[in-house]
């Protein structure tokens, strides 16, 4: 079995993952033969210039996108072999996602936003309220449960998004430029929160970022992407 080849501690293993976009005659190689391994409980930063393929890599890890070729194994499971229903199940059980644009649903309150993943995961209604408050407490926003996202600052919105990503207790947290829309102080707060989550919940964190300084401070390891290829990996 292919899984036997994976070392015990591997949360994510990509082998020769490529993602091409065909634009008429041209082929855009958003990812070009990426192989990597991420340990369980690791805090990993993915760095690279704009258009280097960072988001593409993260989306494939998240099961939102499929590689054109290669395999992506998460916790021993081959994502490329899953049906779209299987990928949806994987997304609601195994991973949580945070985006640069926060992506909260403006019509819903903070609490309803955080509750949403539990609806898809069919968590018992009786259990949900406590878990919503618990997750909001972790990000320090329990008092704002009944507010609308628009009534919160950017940093607060991103904390709500983080609470929402964690509410189904995922093994892996994927963050795509979570601090891209925030000032440096707020960005540091968010990263500190990610660090706490990584430490206290043993959640594997993969974070895409532009900011090398923050990556160096919080991440155990940095990966560099350029033109869809890994260039260098450095450990702290």
């Amino acid at each position: 079995m292919p899984q036997a080849a994976i070392s015990d501690g591997a949360a994510i293993q990509a082998s020769n993952v490529s993602r091409y976009y065909r634009m008429g005659q041209d082929v855009v190689r958003a990812l070009d033969g990426v192989s990597l391994e991420i340990r369980r409980g690791e805090f990993l930063a993915v760095l690279g210039s704009s258009g280097s393929g960072k988001s593409t890599l993260l989306n494939i890890m998240a099961g939102l996108d499929r590689p054109t070729s290669g395999r992506m194994l998460v916790l021993g499971r081959d994502l490329t072999a899953l049906t779209s229903e299987g990928l949806a199940h994987y997304r609601r059980v195994t991973v949580g996602m945070v985006f640069q644009a926060f992506n909260l649903i403006g019509r819903m309150t903070v609490a309803e936003n955080v509750e949403l993943p539990m609806r898809f995961a069919a968590v018992e209604r009786s259990e949900r309220q406590a878990r919503v408050l618990n997750a909001l407490e972790r990000v320090g926003l329990k008092a704002r449960a009944r507010h609308r996202p628009a009534e919160l600052s950017g940093g607060e919105q991103q904390r709500v998004a983080l609470a929402r990503a964690l509410v189904n207790r995922p093994a892996i947290l994927l963050a795509d430029e979570p601090t891209g829309n925030l000032d440096s102080r707020t960005a540091a707060e968010i990263l500190a929160l990610l660090h706490t989550v990584n430490q206290s919940l043993a959640t594997t964190v993969v974070m895409v970022t532009h900011e090398e300084a923050l990556a160096r401070r919080y991440a155990e390891r940095n990966l560099h992407l350029a033109d869809g290829k890994l260039t260098a990996a450095e450990a702290r």
Binding site: N59, A62, L64, D65, S84, E85, A88, H89, R91, R92, V93, M97, F99, A101, N103, I105, R107, M108, L116, P117, R119, F120, A121, A122, R125, R164, N168
Partner: protein, 452 residues
């Protein structure tokens, strides 16, 4: 995703986009309202016609004839040969009364009488009238009243006859009238021995009857109009009407008495005609065929009722088609609203997928929103249709009153139509949701989440 969560999300989305949802829902409301109004009108008219048919006494009646056939007269096709038929007697009457759907069976008795009032006298036919005839349309708007149950000595006159008896017919009410008739008296079972020649050939002449003139004084309680349709109607064709029990007690000879005297023992009197009244026009077919199977000749206006029913079935169908068309046009609004919602909520759909919603969750969510619009529109539409129906009814009755007709219910909203209309509305809405829902489900989350 659980159904309750699905419904909750759908209801929330419905509420949040109030303006667009409510415009679409208004469209469905109008569609359902027209469907409900048209169908309830169709049903109401059908019921009105049914009620009319029932009360007219034309279409709920089978006339059963005595099976007597005179040999050599070549009218074979009218019925079975007499030797195959049982006599139309009391036991046949009981059997018919027990048939399913049969309300009552009574003899059709018409007796030639001489009516005398003061100096005037007229020869006419009176017919026996069962108490159940009280509700017949023939007695609507009559002068005076129908027979009281208590007193048997009453008579109702036909307008024409009343005019012949008095220049002020209305003044006849309450007055006494003398009715002379011929009574049939059965001869003693055996002729007094010795008085008639003890001829062996005549020894079984014991069967027979004599006819004696009798007088009876009756009180005039009502005067009834002869309706144009009275040619068929049982209750308005003869000169006068008397209670059925009275008519039976007159013991007047009938044509069948003659053949009875020849064929049977006179104690086994048979009826010339029986009238079988069924509970509803629908029951007439089975009743008539069962009676035919017993070996009797029958007559009914069955074919006429069948045509009337067919007309209403077609009318209902057309009204339903027009109503449904309105609903289907309205459902295009649902398609539009949901497609707009997809464009507007592209990003939201992407977010939900990123949070673990499956394609089928998204599809079901859009279906549920379509169903919510269908259900709300269906409920409001049924209410509106009900109101429109009431209005039509009120308007029609206003018109009827102006024309001096009694009010009628021309509109009915049975409970099954309420349930059916809302259900149909949801069904049409779901069908309208198929395309938008599958488009929403197929959205690529990566594309929808790409840039702000």
């Amino acid at each position: 995703m659980k159904t309750s969560d699905l419904a909750g999300l759908a209801a929330q989305n419905f509420r949040e986009s109030v303006l667009r949802s409510s415009l679409t829902t208004a469209g469905i409301t109008v569609g359902v309202a027209s469907l409900v109004a048209m169908l309830s009108l169709g049903i109401g008219l059908q019921r009105l016609a049914d009620r009319r048919l029932e009360r007219s006494g034309l279409f709920d009646t089978v006339v059963v004839f005595s099976p007597v056939r005179f040999a050599g007269l070549g009218r074979r096709r009218l019925g079975p040969a007499p030797h195959k038929s049982p006599p139309l007697d009391e036991s046949a009457r009981q059997t018919m009364a027990r048939l399913p759907g049969v309300a009552e069976v009574y003899p059709d008795i018409r007796v030639p009488v001489l009516l005398r009032l003061g100096s005037r006298q007229r020869l006419t036919l009176v017919s026996g009238t069962p108490p159940s005839a009280r509700s017949s349309d023939a007695f609507k708007g009559m002068l005076g009243s129908f027979f009281s149950a208590a007193s048997p000595g009453e008579i109702i006159l036909q307008t024409d006859l009343a005019r012949e008896l008095s220049s002020h017919p209305a003044a006849l009410l309450g007055r006494q009238i003398t009715l002379s008739y011929a009574e049939r008296q059965t001869l003693p079972a055996s002729a007094p021995a010795g008085k008639i020649a003890p001829n062996s050939e005549n020894s079984n002449l014991s069967a027979g009857f004599s006819v004696i003139r009798r007088d009876k004084t009756l009180r005039i309680v009502g005067i009834v109009k002869r309706e144009p349709s009275a040619g068929f109607s049982r209750f308005a064709r003869d000169g006068a009407l008397i209670p059925l029990a009275l008519a039976e007690s007159l013991n007047a000879p009938e044509p069948s008495s003659l053949t009875d005297a020849l064929q049977n023992h006179p104690a086994q009197a048979t009826y010339a005609r029986l009238i079988v009244r069924v509970r509803s026009p629908q029951a007439i077919q089975t009743a008539e065929s069962k009676i035919k199977a017993m070996g009797f000749r029958t007559f009914s206006l069955l074919d006429t009722t069948r045509n009337i029913r067919r007309f209403f079935a077609v009318l209902d169908l057309f009204l339903g088609i027009f109503g449904s068309l309105a609903l289907i046009v309205a459902s295009l609004g649902i398609v539009n609203t949901l497609v707009m919602a997809i464009l507007e909520r592209r990003r939201e759909i992407g977010i939900m997928k990123a949070l673990g919603a499956s394609d089928s969750d998204v599809r079901r969510l859009f279906f549920a929103e379509a169903a919510v619009m269908g259900a709300v529109g269906g409920a409001f539409g049924t209410a509106l249709g009900w109101a429109i129906g009431r209005l039509i009814n009120a308007g029609a009755n206003l018109y009827l009153r102006r024309q001096h007709f009694p009010p009628e219910v021309i509109w009915r909203l049975p409970w099954w139509l309420v349930v059916g209309a809302i259900g149909f509305s949801i069904l049409v809405s779901l069908a309208a949701g198929i395309y938008p829902a599958s488009r929403a489900a197929q959205l690529d989350p990566v594309q929808t989440l790409r840039y702000e």
